[in-house]
Amino acid sequence: MKQYWEIFLVFFKIGAFTFGGGYAMIPLIRNEVVDKKGWLEDEEFMDMLAIAQSIPGPIALNTALFVGSKRLGFKGSLFSGAGVILPSFIVILLIALVFTQFKDNPVVERIFKGIRPAVVALIVSPLFSLGKSAGVKWKNLWIPIVVALAVWQLNISPMYIVLTAIFLGITHFIYLKKRVNK
């Protein structure tokens, strides 16, 4: 039982200190899981990251589930998953309880008038570096542009975008394979 609580605590800590989520927390997780605890080798960690990014869902959760499950089986993944989710759950619940009362307060409204454009800027800013690591070049720049316009202007559900992208990727692969075989 002690091992389960240990893995719970490590991921609770990761969940509590990963502001903004996503890629910002990868060094923190690496430090805990590889350097301090030695639960994964460096190479395993890199493979795990590739997997965590290939399946849907938040990367923090996928990482927690992978480490928990690899170390202590399914039950371990329940503990690591709960650990990484709980801090944000508690914080947001408290904010929801309070913020729903204060959101029409004029001072809060003025603060948020300043914050709202900043929110959009923070979404735009990682686009360039993420685009580079996702392999976006001049040749395939049309893909993100078409997707952004389809979702923004035509209100197409991202669900269909994801399904179409997977379908096209696999179709392209089959086509290439057939051509090689001929």
Partner: protein
Amino acid sequence: MELLDLYLALFVSFFKIGLFGFGGGYAMLPLIQHEIVDTHQWITINEFTDIVAISQTTPGPIAFNSATYIGYSAVTEMGFTSGYGILGSAISTLAVSLPSLILMTLVTAFFFRLKNNPWIQSALSILKPAIIGLIASAALILITPYNFIDYKSWIIFGVVLIASLKKIDPILLIFLSGVIGLVLY
């Protein structure tokens, strides 16, 4: 029964968000927006912006943060007490995590070498650039008259964008923008 229907709808929506939320983080925003703002109208696009702002300053992935917040607010907005709201939060947060739990369990059980599997790689070849488009759409959707009230908003946008590209801490930037809002408006 109205409450049970709402819980079920929250569960289905957030399960979908978890299942199709490739890329995590901001890439999940347009999907959350589509389900929560457009389809179910549990919150407005204005409230959605504020939730994203709160998410950027609190720990944890945005998908969890919005599930927890919306699960609570959707239930209490319908006139139910906060106890039922907390249950709504728990249901939504669980639902958004469940697809990852199922997929990760399968992945580790069979230990697919996803990294070098050509089928997975080919599926990702178009999905990866598409995810960049999804993040861009999240920003475009949030360029509304409510979020950008005047030229001062655009100045804040420009300054924060440059500062963030220079790797200045986003939490500090949000905090400073809040102070600027208080001074300017």
